[in-house]
């Protein structure tokens, strides 16, 4: 490590001494216009080709650039316009008209360790602009990508500050291949710390041939984030962006009220369970099925009691610009988001970012990028499940103000409780998680031949994360069930350090019609993480200032528990890429990466890729038509690795300590150990993908469309398999599975007078299937109650259980269908399962596949309209064809006292012919209907969401004195205002394998925002 840094320092110093010879130079002036509407364009970048010397046009579109070589070339570039090159040829006045580049074909795309023109790519790489990201009210920039690109499924979570689950082209690994984030060339496991306001664009490397330059970490896709940078000679640009508003819950589940709950209990012959509540808190008359009853007068709607709206706000300020050989960007932001619970439930983040680039000599760039990010969140645990189970016949509080207990009302055992008290005491406001991230890098580009042909780049980057958390459980007493006798305090401290050192050498050359870019590089990675903490009992309740171990009342050392752990990772990689095209018509891209890691028994893995493209529209025979302005077909193949597999899995080890030692004679601890019996040599999990696509630009480039087919096979899949007899398990390379699909995206953009609009739509299909399991007939996951099975020919983690074919309407129907000697408890109103073998016994032989949490397709769309100063934006997102398991209902098998969601009440079977899908009240608490897994618990997970509606109004140049024209924009936005779904749960957005329990729902946010640029 250290020698490398020294060498790069030496390199830098050497080059400080070098400069170039002088050539004849002139001063050039001119005006830049837009070809669309012939207005002048301010802010256009004008650069001398092959250098970084340049300027930008002023508010009237004029520029002046000194020291231009007489035989040089000027490059004019502007966002949304085609980049144009004009040879100087001794001219001192050069006026240029830029053509709009609506479909982004010539956009420069950030690829791994370099950039490429979009039209030269042989793999699909969607790019989402920062403007589209900040439209969303989201703490995490990735959340805002939901629905923006086919093949990238983003499952958001509702907790403030949470990270979404990202699934790139299906489940590529059973070990949860999370994407790799590359921010300005630095590598991260998540980007929760990035302020969306600092993002210039995000490129998604979803295809293996695009991502394989990142080798072992890229199996989950690569998300390439480019942050905003200043530009040389640009002058100062100040931007403020902020919003404020509130979060609220929508699509809440309806739970039975006291009348409904009582009706069900009466039908279950469990009326006496209502009596304690009536005795304690009063009763009222109620008629059910013609009989008079007294039912509790208490009627608590727990959602009503525990949910509230939360404030959200974000303020960010950035300054950027540059002079002749320096550019900078400084940004700061503050974000605060409150959750949906009636409790201190908040996420806050403060960010500061500074980027500075120096270009002291023509052959040398030196730059640094520093980000400091601090976040704080307060977690509220899993009260969502508690709200579902809580019964309406318990009040929140007694008359004297104390929380009401549930034991006195007859709920001695089981999870039914007073969730308001749980929220108040258990998940108290004493708890927090804090983190401070410091990320910095330093890089230097050395142009070894004095121009862009041969560039050596060295980058050192360091990520330092420090975090701490505190959990305090006070002493409290609601009743014998909900109480805590000894207070406890747990604190954790962790530190994570990740150092990367990358060197690349890039060679570009154009020889006649042959255009080459060759890149080779070497990278090392070193991760060291430590965490430590402790817990103590009997720390007195009071203000948080008391919460230190030293305050424990009984400071007996045995009341302290200390823990300490850590992990380390080492990685070494080398890589290379060849990009070649003949006359921009025939394209070849090839990459190769070798990764060495300390994680696996097999140290080295090698990941090649190759891609071919043919830009048909460049062919002479296409010149005569004017339907297609652009047409390209391309195909690629590549391999990726996945290093998310836990490193300890599969190694042989021993377990020592007190728990593995025996105490003889009740005082003599004889040291002992237990050794793991099962172990294996873990190899690299390998993803191999083939992609074929076509890109079309037509109808005067107003319509742009891209269609891709991919086939992604995971080989050597690292799968957790249970050892014989279920005694533990381990990860083995035991499978092969495929994800394949078609992705389609279309963009239509047009301008009719003052009215401009664009419509974007995308859709991706997904087929997931297990191909091989190394001889095992299937691999099971989940629990016996919620069985997930992966079998050859079926999707991964399919649900496996009984198929409901109706509800028994009569005793005769029961008698005719099953052996009542064995299934004695079954009665009319119970679910009727398909008896596949027809033997009258419903057992494991009768189970079948019932679906999986893998959507058939996902789709998204964005419409933007602008008319004069108004703009309107609407985006939608949908998921179709996946199934979820309703574990809230499923868990009732073991806890019959739960409340019932209203859907269960309203649709229940109440007699012959009343329902052929829902069980009776008695059936709702009988294990026959709810355990084991059956298709009644498997529900459609499809949903359609209006993600964002934004209405904006812009004041053009309201503030005098701005170099490039000031702007003020006000917006009103609704985030996730409407979601349509059938699933009987809090939200259909469920991460992982689709076991949908008490999930924090996605909030709906309403905000007003202000953006000022100056």
């Amino acid at each position: 490590m250290i020698p490398m840094i020294k060498i790069s320092t030496i390199l830098s110093i050497c080059f400080l001494l070098i400069t170039n010879a002088l050539l004849a130079q002139i001063t050039v002036t001119g005006t830049v216009e837009s070809g669309d509407d012939e207005t002048t364009l301010p802010g256009v970048s004008v650069v001398i080709k092959g250098t970084t010397t340049g300027t930008v046009t002023d508010i009237d579109g004029n520029y002046q650039l000194a020291n231009v070589p007489e035989d040089g070339t000027l490059v004019f570039s502007f966002v949304g316009m085609e980049t144009t090159e004009v040879p100087v040829n001794n001219q001192t006045v050069i006026d240029v008209t830029l053509q709009s580049d609506a479909i982004g074909i010539d956009e420069v795309v950030v690829i791994g360790y370099g950039t490429a023109r979009s039209s030269d790519l042989t793999a699909p790489i969607p790019v989402i602009s920062g403007t589209d990201i900040v439209r969303n009210v989201a703490t995490n920039a990735v959340s805002a990508l939901q629905g923006s690109s086919p093949g990238v499924q983003i499952v958001n979570r509702g907790e403030p500050g949470s990270t979404p689950q990202i699934i790139v082209r299906g489940i590529g690994s059973m070990q949860g291949a999370q994407p790799l984030y590359v921010v300005d060339g630095m590598f991260y496991d998540d980007i929760n710390w990035v302020s969306p306001n600092d993002i210039e664009s995000i490129a998604l490397l979803k295809d293996a041939s695009a991502a394989s330059i990142y080798g072992v970490r890229a199996a989950g896709g690569v998300i390439m984030v480019t942050t905003k940078q200043g530009r040389k000679g640009e002058g100062l640009l100040i931007e403020y962006d902020g919003y404020t508003g509130y979060n609220s819950s929508s699509n809440l589940m309806e739970m039975s009220n006291t009348e409904q709950y009582s009706a069900i209990l009466i039908e279950q012959d469990a009326y006496p369970r209502l009596e304690p509540s009536i005795n304690l808190w009063g009763g009222r008359p109620f008629t059910h099925n013609g009989t008079e009853y007294t039912i509790p007068s208490t009627n608590t709607d727990w959602y009503d009691e525990l949910l509230s709206t939360g404030m959200v706000m974000n303020h960010s300020l950035s300054l950027r610009g540059g002079n002749e050989n320096t550019s900078y960007h400084i940004g700061g932001s503050y974000l605060s988001e409150e959750g949906l619970l009636e409790s201190d439930n908040q996420f806050e983040r403060v960010n500061l970012k500074a980027t500075v680039n120096f270009n002291p000599y023509k052959f040398l760039d030196i730059g640094t990028n520093i980000v400091v990010s601090h976040n704080m969140s307060r977690d509220q645990g899993s009260v969502w499940g508690g709200m579902y189970s809580a019964v309406p016949i318990i009040p929140v509080r007694e008359d004297n103000g104390d929380f009401a207990g549930v034991i006195q009302a007859g709920y001695q055992v089981g999870p039914v409780n007073n969730p308001a008290a749980q929220l108040h005491f258990n998940t108290g406001n004493h708890n927090f998680t804090r983190g401070t991230n410091l990320m910095y890098n330093a890089h230097t580009n050395i142009r070894l031949l004095g121009d862009d042909r041969l560039v050596f780049r060295t980058q050192f980057s360091h990520e330092l994360r420090n975090g701490n958390s505190r959990v305090y459980n006070p002493v409290y007493f609601v009743d014998e069930k909900l109480r805590n006798e000894n207070s406890s305090l747990t604190k954790r401290y962790n530190q994570y350090s990740s150092i990367h050192l990358d060197h690349t050498l890039t060679f570009k050359e154009n020889l006649a019609d042959h255009n080459f870019t060759l890149m080779g590089g070497f990278s090392t990675r070193r991760v060291d993480a430590q965490n430590a903490g402790g817990s103590a009992q009997n720390v007195p309740n009071g203000p948080p200032e008391y919460f230190y171990f030293s305050n424990a009342i009984d400071p007996d050392p045995v009341n302290f528990d200390v823990f300490d752990g850590g992990y380390a990772e080492r990685g070494v990689s080398f890589f290379g890429r060849l990009m070649y095209n003949y006359n921009y018509k025939y394209l070849i891209n090839a990459t190769f990466r070798g990764d060495g890691t300390d994680k696996y028994s097999q140290t080295w893995g090698y990941f090649p890729s190759v891609g071919f493209g043919w830009v048909i529209s460049e062919e002479p025979f296409m010149e005569d038509q004017n339907l297609f302005q652009f047409m390209k077909v391309r195909a690629s193949w590549g391999q990726l690795g996945n290093n998310n597999v836990p490193r300890e899995s599969g190694t042989r080890e021993i377990f020592t300590g007190f728990n593995n030692s025996y105490v003889f004679g009740n005082d003599m601890i004889v040291p002992g150990y237990v050794s793991s019996v099962f172990f294996n040599e873990l190899e690299w999990e390998l993803t191999e993908e083939t992609n074929a696509g076509i890109e079309l630009g037509l109808l005067d480039e107003r319509l742009y469309t891209e269609i891709d087919y991919f086939n992604r096979v995971t080989r050597n899949a690292a799968i957790f398999t249970r050892n014989l007899m279920g005694a533990g398990g381990m990860i083995r390379n035991a499978g092969e599975f495929v994800n394949r699909g078609i992705e389609l995206s279309m963009t239509w953009e047009d301008q009719i007078g003052d009215f401009g609009y664009s419509v974007k739509g995308n859709m991706g299909t997904l087929h997931n299937e297990v191909l091989d399991l190394a001889g095992e007939p299937y691999i099971d996951a989940g629990s016996a109650e919620f069985r997930l099975r992966s079998e050859v020919g079926h999707p991964l983690y399919s649900y496996y259980g009984y198929k409901v074919i109706g509800v028994y309407q009569t005793a005769q129907e029961v008698e005719d269908h099953i052996d009542t000697e064995i299934h004695g408890q079954v009665e009319p109103g119970f679910l009727k399962y398909e008896d596949i073998d027809g033997n009258g016994i419903i057992n494991e032989e009768d189970r079948q596949y019932l679906g999986a949490n893998i959507p058939d397709f996902t789709y998204g769309g964005q419409i933007s309209l602008d008319y004069r100063n108004f703009d309107l934006f609407v985006s939608v997102y949908g998921v179709s064809g996946n199934e979820l398991i309703n574990t809230l209902r499923g868990n009732r098998a073991w806890h019959a006292d739960f409340n019932f969601d209203t859907d269960l009440y309203e649709n229940r079977w109440v007699g012959q012919g009343s329902s052929n899908t829902y069980p009776s009240s008695r059936g709702l608490v009988n294990s026959w209907n709810l355990s084991p897994l059956n298709s009644f618990l498997v529900e459609d997970g499809s949903f359609f969401r209006i993600q964002n509606i934004t209405l904006g109004y812009t004041f053009n140049d309201p503030l005098p004195g701005s170099q490039r024209g000031s702007k003020i924009r006000i917006r009103l936005a609704a985030q996730n205002p409407f979601t349509f779904f059938k699933f009987n749960g809090f939200t259909p957005e469920v991460t992982g394998q689709g076991l949908a329990g008490g999930v924090y729902p996605i909030p709906t946010s309403y905000i007003v925002g202000l953006n000022i640029t100056y």
């Binding site: 006496p272 031949l449 009341n559 850590g566 992990y567 890691t597 080890e653 237990v674 095992e776 294990s927």
Partner: protein, 525 residues
């Protein structure tokens, strides 16, 4: 001003430097990547030449067996609820599926967690035993004292045999655990072959095990040859091999190492730990300290403990009772009263709203439990309104600040009283009624019961019920099965169908071959 020529010179130097340094990076790669896992001791670190550590895997085996495997509360429920003396208690909605155990409704519980838990905890022990034996072999390559090695292995093999016996007793036809086999190929073996294997193992190890009383061992409470003989006698009972039962129990009786502890009541309290009567027990302790390490006794006592409303307050402030999961049947109390039992009834059963001999008060039956008992009695099942008392540990025998029901009392697995009853039973089987009188009367005498003459197998059965009720082995159900008295189990029990639990669904899913008919010859012979 620097000239162009110098630039070229510098360029060359840089090139040279770059080229020269690249091999340096690569040469250090393998060292850089060769790193141990943080905070874990890899197996290679065990020094197998260090004979002083040779007992480590054996101690680990004891710990494995004692880590809530041989005494998980739900395992005890599964063992007990099938008998005619115990009902599933607690609360109607607390583990409602467990009610199916006492009704022999096996189909509905095949996929219940506790059915699988029972299976996994025992095969987990077997797996750990196999691993420990491999470790001992590695030590054995260097060990100077091969006799010691054989003894250590014998201790481990005892636990393996114990686990196989329990599995064969509970599930009937069971598989032999061969870790090299792929899951799909695993098959069951006939129950008798499994039991024969257990006997063969025990016969091989007895001579390697120490012959002292376990309390006199250097490692107090360890496995002795008497524990092995005891297990052999019980296995022989299940096999109806009464000659073997005779030989094994006689060996213990003849050794003179054990005798009956005089006070039946305190035998089960702290005073009775490592007593003259205890052949094998699982050691549990909290080191008399209110916090810190304690052995994993889990809910073994808590589960069956007295579930009461009010009553004993163990730590002066808060209520601490058991879950009342196992409730005695009136049939048991009737039997005991009919026999005029004294101390054994007083030790086994206590009534609500009374007090213990130590002065701890016992509260009323709480409403939810009472509701369940009322329902049972409405259904004509005959549940007693009394508590199971044998596992009770008085307040003054618990560690201050660490009060829990039953505390950290050792769990008695094998007692000499049972040895005498097994010996008596074997003698009756072999030589006819009356042949075991001397030994059955020794047990009765300690309990203050008059001597019998001409004792029959029926007498043995009742004596076992009176003496051994509610203890770890939960023998009552198995006694009725092996002695063919299943009519006692009520009308729901169907002979030939309900003797053994079904293989848990989870296990069938893991090893589908377990559903196939058993295959002969898989256990090593």
């Amino acid at each position: 001003m620097i000239t162009k020529k110098q630039t070229d010179m510098k360029s060359i130097n840089i090139w040279l430097l770059t080229v020269l340094t690249i091999p340096f990076f690569f040469s250090s790669c393998e060292d850089f990547l060769d790193k141990d896992i943080e905070g874990q001791i890899p197996l290679e670190e065990v020094d197998y030449t260090d004979e002083s550590r040779m007992y480590d895997p054996v101690s680990g085996m004891y710990a494995s067996a004692n880590a809530n495997r041989l005494h998980h509360w739900a395992n005890q429920c599964m063992m007990n609820f099938r008998s005619d003396f115990i009902f599933k208690g607690a609360h109607a909605n607390d583990q409602p599926v467990m009610e199916d155990i006492q009704d022999f409704k096996y189909e509905s519980m095949r996929n219940a967690w506790f059915v699988n838990n029972l299976w996994v905890s025992h095969f987990g022990m077997i797996r750990d035993a196999d691993a420990a034996l491999e470790e001992l072999d590695l030590f054995g390559e260097h060990a100077s004292d091969q006799d010691l090695l054989r003894q250590y292995k014998a201790e481990v093999r005892f636990f393996r045999a114990l686990a196989y016996w329990r599995m064969a007793r509970i599930y009937g036809d069971i598989p032999f655990y061969d870790r090299d086999i792929v899951a799909a190929a695993l098959r069951r073996s006939p129950r008798m072959e499994a039991l024969e294997y257990v006997v063969k193992e025990l016969q091989e190890i007895v001579e390697h095990l120490p012959s002292q009383h376990p309390a006199n061992l250097e490692r107090k409470g360890g496995v002795t040859r008497w524990a092995a003989y005891m297990l052999m006698a019980k296995v022989a009972g299940d096999m109806q091999d009464y000659q073997l039962m005779l030989t094994a129990s006689k060996a213990i009786v003849d050794s003179g190492v054990f005798s009956l502890y005089p006070d039946y009541y305190t035998l089960f309290k702290k005073q009775g730990e490592f007593s003259v009567e205890n052949i094998f027990e699982l050691n549990h302790t909290d080191f008399s300290s209110s916090a810190g390490d304690a052995t994993n006794v889990d809910q073994y006592y808590v589960c069956h403990g007295i579930k009461q409303d009010g009553g004993t307050r163990f730590d002066g402030g808060s209520f601490n009772s058991g879950w009342g999961f196992s409730m005695p049947a009136q049939k048991y109390i009737d039997l005991m009263e009919e026999r005029n039992e004294g101390i054994r009834l007083e030790t086994s059963i206590i009534y609500p709203n009374t007090a213990t001999a130590e002065g701890d008060s016992i509260g009323a039956i709480p409403g939810d439990l009472q509701g369940l008992l009322d329902r049972y009695n409405d259904e004509g099942r005959g549940a007693a309104e009394a508590y199971w008392f044998k596992n009770y540990l008085p307040y003054n025998q618990q560690t201050e600040g660490r009060y829990r029901y039953g505390g950290y009392n050792n769990i008695r697995l094998f007692r000499y009283a049972e040895t005498l009853l097994l010996y008596a039973e074997a003698l009756i089987h072999v030589n006819g009624a009356g042949a075991g009188d001397a030994y059955i009367n020794e047990v009765r005498d300690r309990a203050g019961m008059p001597p019998l003459s001409g004792a029959t197998i029926d007498d043995i059965l009742d004596e076992r019920a009176a003496e051994l009720a509610f203890e770890w082995a939960a023998d009552r159900f198995f006694d009725l099965i092996r002695l063919d008295r299943t009519e006692e189990l009520g009308p729901d029990f169907e002979k030939g169908l309900h003797e053994f639990y079904p293989i848990p669904t989870t296990q069938l899913d893991l090893q589908p071959g377990l559903a196939e008919p058993p295959v002969s010859g898989l256990f090593p012979s």
